[in-house]
Amino acid sequence: MKSVAKRDPLIPAWLRSSRVIGAYSVIAGLAIWQLAYQGLTWTHYFKAYAINHFLSSPLQVIQSFGELYQSGELLRHSYFSLLEFVYGFLLAIGVGILVGFIMATSKKINYYLDPWVSCLYATPLVALAPVIMVWFGLGIFPNSLVVFLGAVFPILLNTYTGIKSVRENLIDVVRAFGGSPSQVFFKVMIPDATPTIITGIRLAVGRAVISVVVAELFGAEAGLGFMVYFYSQRFLPGPVFVAIVVLVVFGILSFLALEKIQGWLSPWYAYRLRREAHGMELE
């Protein structure tokens, strides 16, 4: 115990909240990055190792963001990536929920599909991207297929788990009061499984974004992944970082949006959700 008397804190409380400290941390990190880059430019290593060919500074990234935005290149690439993402992801949601539901309700089908699903889930399916390019050629469709493969299994497995873990006593109650099978389905199973299904969809977002990028590396005429590859091969790191920032922002925004949707669809789950939101990946 150093001093018992309470002093007024030097920094007011709102400046010490964890959100503001987080913002400081990000700003400080960016500043360190910028300063380190500046410092490097003055040493002779900078020229000797051609560091500006693979490292960029925050200011340069902002500058190349402006250039790419004005020339319309960024929007074109983002549009292509977004299309692939949306097609593949919607297909994954549809198929994942349907197959997951069928597997949860029919034991026989579950037994037959289970070895395939668990094996494909453990496989890094981005490895199939080059093979898919060979089969289906270039363009939006094969890339969407890679996104589909990347995203479908978390959704499928979470739908399966969600439907399987619907509380039996709820179903019994509805049935005891004369509920029809369709009522059991729509009033009990769907609402009870929704949070788990959306958790699966949230997990799938990250995988889908990676799949978009990897698919575009192999064969594409446009897209953010194509942009990364194109500029990194020309040793221009600025645009590469721009694409990365766009994808990071997209990933985080869709993650937060799905968290909101989950809160609307199943508010009773919001508490558990908040505990799990920080990274605890459900399977």
């Binding site: 987080g22 990000v26 890094p124 080059p130 990946e281 399977e283």
Partner: protein, 260 residues
């Protein structure tokens, strides 16, 4: 007949799995040999097996698997240790948590694979660039799960130990760490998948050996069978590590309820 029926019914799940796999392979083979007879488009399991044996006997397979394995294991181990350390630091110190949290969120959600081309230009085609990518891919699931596990340990247990005069050290080693163990193991398992993807994708960009290299090199030359050998190897490797870690998880923390 009834004896077979009883055996079948008592192990229905396993039998069905085997039947399903065999049926799938037969259908795949039939499509290959009856409908699409173009080896550029589709190759059946027999052709994949053939080219597996071919690669194996030439010693190429061992070389590629070894290269990927070294990248994977180095990056994974460093990533796991770092992730665990940072996770513990974030769970124990509020300040560390506040400073690290935004960065961890950003990096965890970022498609880190995108950095692969940059790392390759920076660190070259060799081992270093891949290990760095695998490391970044593997570190965050462990970090997050260590943190979540340590912060969600039942407060009553901590209080009980403290009430009986437990030191902070004892609380850490006897309560918090064992309590967090199941989640940490889950993090280890999730990291395996991400690290594997990291290793493969970094090999796509530029490598001299490795399963990812095998897949790209083969598919660019339209040797689809060889590419599929790589994919099948990954499937087996991924599945095996997944199951082994699941088994360890169950042994270490049998009280922990598994979700799947």
């Amino acid at each position: 007949m009834s004896a077979i029926g009883t055996i079948y019914r008592s192990h229905e799940k396993k039998f069905d799995a085997v039947i399903s796999v065999i049926l799938g392979l037969i259908i795949w083979q039939m499509i290959d040999s009856l409908f699409i007879r173009n080896p550029l488009v589709l190759v059946g399991p027999s052709r994949v097996a053939q080219s597996f044996m071919n690669l194996f006997s030439r010693g190429l397979l061992a070389r590629h698997v070894y290269a990927t394995f070294v990248e994977f294991i180095l990056g994974y181990l460093v990533g796991v240790v770092t992730g665990f350390g940072l996770g513990v630091a974030m769970a124990l110190s509020r300040r560390a948590k506040e400073i690290l949290n935004p960065w961890v969120t950003i990096w965890y959600n970022a498609p880190i694979i995108l950095l692969a081309p940059l790392f390759i230009t920076a660190f070259g085609l060799g081992l270093v660039s891949k290990v760095v990518i695998v490391f970044i891919a593997a570190v965050f699931p462990v970090l997050f799960n260590t943190y979540t596990g340590m912060t969600t340990v039942d407060g009553r247990l901590v209080e009980a130990v403290r009430a009986f005069g437990g030191t902070p050290r004892q609380i850490f080693f006897k309560v918090t760490l064992p309590g967090a163990l199941p989640l940490i193991m889950t993090g280890l398992r999730l990291s395996v998948g991400r690290a594997l993807v990291g290793a493969i994708v970094s090999e796509f960009f530029g490598a001299r050996a490795g399963i990812g290299y095998l897949i790209t090199a083969a598919s660019e030359a339209f040797r689809t069978a060889e590419a599929l050998v790589g994919v099948v190897l990954l499937a087996i490797g991924g599945y095996a590590t997944f199951e082994v870690l699941k088994y360890i998880e169950r042994r270490i923390a049998p009280w922990y309820e598994h979700r799947v």
